[in-house]
Symmetry: C2
Subunit: 741 residues, 2 copies
């Protein structure tokens, strides 16, 4: 009879890796919790487990006691450094792959199919024309100009469709979690959400491959967010090698945080920006300086690896190197720059809004059933539009690099952008490109393909900024002696206004509006551009855009997606209640399932555990005095152990948790006091709701119990707090997974 | 009789500003605590007060209810922006003052005493020799070379003594808290320490003036830390204008944090570095994103103000602009760079150690009674030594700028540093300068003058780094074809090694060793030098030096000073206990002074309050069940109000705190339930000590009470936790103030 109980009750438990090698782990017997995907970890519990493991290691006799902790720490560094190197090299090779695939849409190399256009034409003398790179029409010896253009356009669009369709096929069939940017999920995971299927090797592979395909297909997306996801998958993979990470959710998350920093470092060639992104957006390092330090090392290692592979032979981390003729800027320029900040704030909020509406429409309409078809159609449309609007034809990163560049007569002119007689056309074309990209991006970000939002946002902002620069410049050329331009040199042929830098400002403003990041954004931007001397204008535009954006809606795009997908993530907001107390938020005693100390029998306990899926139960004595909190997992494990070891165990025995029941004969009770959580936070229900929220934000427990003079009065869980903090958002949970998988 | 009680008991209370205008403030009656210098604020309490104020504002009727909160927020921005502008301009004018005073030691301008050497010689044609700037010997028409040198040396040393002596005189007599860097105190204040006399206008004035004098005197010190102090003093001054900051210690600290960021921003011309310094070293922004955002704005405003005043007409924020011929670096260079990292870590720890020993010697020896004499002697010695060692003769900032500069034949050669035939002499001289500065700095940092440690540390590191660069360069010149240098161009006349950049690396390593900062250090360094493309080597050297330094002692120089001066500051370390529980740390019930609910009479209560200086008392009922916590201040205020309002109050009345005593007739009891703290954190004494420490670090309360099944078992205060966390430091409290002023 007890055997039966075990098998039905602990079926899940036996699947758990802890026991898969047939014996309990040496250090943490009966202390390691099990979490299912979709639940939240209890940080206090995890840290307690880590502490016990730590004590066990240190208390080993002799050399082992000294050596084991050092090995423990070394393993952690191994994971951090290997992940850093891995993502650095992966990022570099992804770039190579993307360049090759992208060039394939234009033509091929005559002497080798696997060379991209640059590699194909390398080794030429300056001035020599490259004949080895052939367009598809040349390759097929098509002479007619019309047929030539038509074929080129056709291949361009067709390959875009093939690439994007292949990516969607892979994602939909093999790794559904490889879609989208991944940053909202990483944020949730780092905050304690359990989502292991998001980090599988399979997801890693599909996301990396799919990313290369989608970027090459010319869709309006970037590689930045997905690279963070890839980096975290790598860290997860490497960390599985060591028991210390497999068995502890807290240490696993510390390593993931470092990996996320490394991902940003590689995506932007911005090692500092990576650390700061982790700090500001992922909100992880706030807790421990050690984590920041590990992120710092991972970032640096990843950047070194990237520079070592050196995909394009430039040996530079700065992707969009800008060169400003003049290091100074004039006070009047603050007017266009602040205007750009305002525009960025407004358009950023609009982009978020559009993206949300489209995502909800996608979920509710027939589109939900045809994800691959959607991707194929959008990519065809994008390719066709991009082929028509000249600035959008090249890859987005190339467009941005050109927009950030100042006009220099000695270098080439990018599609007539520097032609002073075509200023009006250019301004029109730039604004058109920006609007087109805006519409495409809000549709693309959320389809079933890997897609980041950073690069398209930069491109939109850069177009607008460059347009603003051209407007200012033509004003200056028209009225060089106006009082506004007094600080410029009187001769209008000398450059006073640098439209390229306006593009940088526009990009910062737009990014500020979409992501609502501040300091990490500024660092990433000047690590991207090398525009260190212009850090102040960048700061000012980001400030303006964040102010304006916040006035139109407090949440950045990642926070919005987290709310829509209903991840249990606590926003680091400064929550203010309106006089509510903990009593408003808590589930009162009457609606809680509690275990009664010294009364519940083993049989009742097993029934309780089978019936309810709760993470744990408060334990009270018969006067409803609070005794402690026991998790379901711990109770299962303890009863299972007791069933195995004690032959004479009957299901009529009484479960006891406290010292008050010592008078009951040992044969008639089952001592479960070991299952009680060590660290339970108690508050009175009269405390302000604000404080309850703050305790959750700072200490990240799973639950807080409320007691009054020792008596249990209620309980609040993290889910309740998340619901409270996202209640203001109109589409909260609109995209939550339908089945509780 | 009751009147007597009041006057003796509440003498302190009447001095308190809250009641100085004769009436209680409208929003927070009986809710504002009083803290004395030297105590710690209770963050939870302060936040509760802020919340009540907030509710009161929002609940005002009509337009007032909408307008008042907006005004509240606007006031905060006014303080932040005014402080930013103030410190930006103050920083600029301090630079001008220092430059003038420093030049005065060499000579004077013939046509105006108040021009410095650069201003005096401005407006000349290129190549023209400046005749208007006369050395003192020229001015006095001394022809003999010997007498000329002697006079120059004499004036140089004499003015150094005069400047330093004047600064010491001012500090010792008028503002003793204006000594030292100020950063340890700011860290403590931001963490909750109450130290208002540290932020007075008088301290502001003396610190700023004294700083200009000591920097000009050529002592081995920098202006960075003191500028942070000055900036905080400014913010304090401005914030006193508004009641919302005067009455709330938490909001005051939020503004101070922004000011500190602005101070660093001005000191290094590094707006981003300022924010990150606040984040990493001051550990303030970790709590709230809003605070980071304010620091960001304050930093930017301060940098704009500095650039607007533009003290030296360069319009540049980058102080030590470096220009590297070549943007790439070679793998073999990692060997000297990592070596520099190791040296920086070791010497940094050594510098901390030396500084501690000297500080303790100063305190214990006769020097303590002669602070001005000490400053005068050290400045005479410094001036004499600096005059002899050629590299040290100029101001430290000029030395650093020269060391960071690459050799360029078209520009001047700094004291033969670029002479390839004098490499050995240069290496010797650089190491000598570094050692001398090291000894001088460890003595100077801690004397009774304003003194920062950043710049001298940079100088020491730059000397060592440049020496290392020269060593590597001469190796390369000697063996250009060795395998190590294969990646260099084969022609040794082409530059392969940039000794100037080695100086930057050396400076980073040394700073890492002394301050143990990481990310903010890297940002400050490349905002200082503009060496963005070389961010990776800088990161690597900082990493190495922090690793090595941490192995030799965990604490940076500021943490060491905090421990020596025994400020109640919680280091943000990841504390690990060895199995101890809260029970080890807590004061048990038996040794606590508690108030018994429904038993203590008004008379006993007044006696208790008069007798004990504790911040507050736990309240228990007769079964020692925990009722709540009441602060001394609240109790005093409540009783004082009762004494004033109720004529019939007798001292025999019984103080009640809970609902259990409603049966006692209202005339026989005094209801003090309003004095109970709303937010009291309760734990069981079995929780791991680690968790207790963490709760203090994260939530920053003043105390945590331990209960078991509702019964009070003990209490832990912040002071206990600070003592625990600094117990490993051998000289903890060695420099604590002697009298409890």
């Amino acid at each position: 009879m007890p055997i039966d109980h075990t098998s039905t009750l602990f079926h899940d438990g036996e699947q758990y890796e802890l026991t898969e090698d047939g014996h309990l782990p040496p250090f943490t017997p009966a202390r390691t919790p099990k979490y299912k995907d979709g639940s939240s970890i209890d940080w206090l519990h995890e840290e307690a487990a880590e502490r016990e493991r730590d004590h066990a290691l240190h208390s080993q006799a002799g050399v082992r006691g000294a050596l084991l902790p050092a090995i423990e720490s070394a393993r952690m560094w191994v994971v951090v450094i290997v992940t850093g190197m891995g993502i650095g090299m992966a990022g570099a090779w992804l770039d190579v792959l993307v360049k090759w695939l992208g060039d394939l849409r234009e033509g091929r190399c005559s002497y080798g199919f696997f060379y991209n256009s640059v590699a194909c034409c390398s080794g030429l003398d300056p001035g020599e024309v490259c004949k080895d790179w052939e367009t598809w029409s040349d390759y097929l010896h098509i002479k007619s100009v019309f047929a030539h253009s038509l074929l080129q356009a056709f291949v361009y669009v067709a390959l875009a469709i093939v690439f994007a369709g292949a990516a969607a096929l892979l994602v939909v069939n093999y790794a559904p979690y490889a879609f989208h940017t991944g940053i909202p999920e990483i944020k949730a995971i780092l905050g304690g959400y359990v989502f292991d299927s998001f980090l599988t090797p399979w997801t890693l592979l599909i996301k990396a491959l799919g990313l290369a395909l989608t970027v090459a297909s010319g869709l309006s997306l970037g590689k930045e967010g997905p690279l963070v996801h890839v980096s975290c998958c790598m860290a997860y993979l490497v960390s599985r090698l060591f028991k210390q990470f497999r068995h502890n959710e807290a240490s696993k998350r510390r390593v993931l945080a470092a990996a996320a920093a490394a991902g940003v470092s590689v995506a932007f060639g911005s090692p500092l920006g990576g650390v700061l992104f982790g700090l500001e957006e992922l909100d992880t390092f706030a807790n421990e300086t050690d984590v920041m330090w590990r992120g710092f090392v991972a970032s640096a290692v990843a950047a070194v690896a990237l520079q070592w592979v050196n995909p394009f032979g430039t040996a530079k981390l700065v992707l969009f190197q800008v060169t400003f003729v003049d290091d100074t800027w004039r006070a009047f320029e603050l007017i266009p720059w602040i205007t750009l900040g305002v525009i960025g704030g407004v358009l950023g909020s609009l982009l978020i809004r559009l993206n949300v509406e489209i995502a909800i429409f996608r979920r509710q309409s027939v589109l939900a059933d045809w994800p691959i078809l959607e991707v194929v159609s959008v990519s065809a449309f994008t390719a066709a539009m991009s082929y028509l609007v000249v600035f959008a034809r090249v890859q987005t990163s190339e467009l941005v690099a050109n927009l950030f560049q100042e006009c220099d007569p000695t270098k080439g002119d990018y599609h007539g952008l520097c032609n002073p007689t075509a200023t009006r056309q250019n301004i029109f074309l730039l604004i058109l490109t920006a609007l087109m990209k805006m519409a495409l991006t809000s549709w693309t970000f959320g389809m079933s393909i890997p897609a980041g939002i950073f690069l398209p946002t930069i491109a939109i902002g850069a177009c607008l900024g460059r347009a603003m620069g051209l407007v200012t410049q033509s004003l200056y050329r028209a009225y060089p002696t106006a009082w506004m331009f007094l600080s410029c040199p009187p001769d209008p042929s000398v450059r006073c206004i640098s439209p390229g830098f306006y593009a940088v400002i526009g990009a910062s403003a737009m990014l500020g509006g979409v992501t609502r990041m501040t300091i990490s954004l500024v660092v990433i931007l000047f690590e991207l551009t090398g525009a260190l001397s212009h850090v102040l204008p960048i700061m000012i535009s980001v400030m303006t855009s964040k102010w304006v954006g916040d006035a139109l809606g407090k949440d950045g795009i990642y926070a919005v997606w987290i709310a829509m997908r209903r991840y249990p993530w606590l926003p680091p907001v400064d929550y203010r209640d309106r006089g509510e107390t903990g009593a408003t938020l808590m589930k009162p005693l009457a609606s809680l399932f509690v275990i009664e100390d010294g009364k519940t029998t083993v049989k009742e306990m097993i029934q309780l555990l089978e019936k309810h899926e709760f993470h744990g139960f408060p334990v009270v004595d018969r006067h409803s005095e609070f005794v402690g909190y026991a998790t379901r997992e711990e109770l299962q494990l303890a009863i299972s152990n007791a069933l195995l070891s004690e032959e004479a165990l009957t299901s009529r025995r009484i479960c006891t948790f406290s010292q008050n029941h010592l008078r009951i004969h040992a044969d008639e009770r089952l001592d479960l006091s070991g299952t009680l959580e060590q660290a339970v936070i108690q508050l009175r229900k009269e405390v302000p709701q604000e404080l309850v929220v703050k305790m959750f934000q700072k200490l990240n427990p799973r639950q807080i119990v409320f007691t009054h003079a020792g008596k249990l009065t209620g309980m609040v869980t993290k889910t309740d707090v998340v619901a409270l903090l996202t209640s203001h958002f109109p589409h909260a949970a609109a995209l939550a997974e339908r089945s509780g998988s």
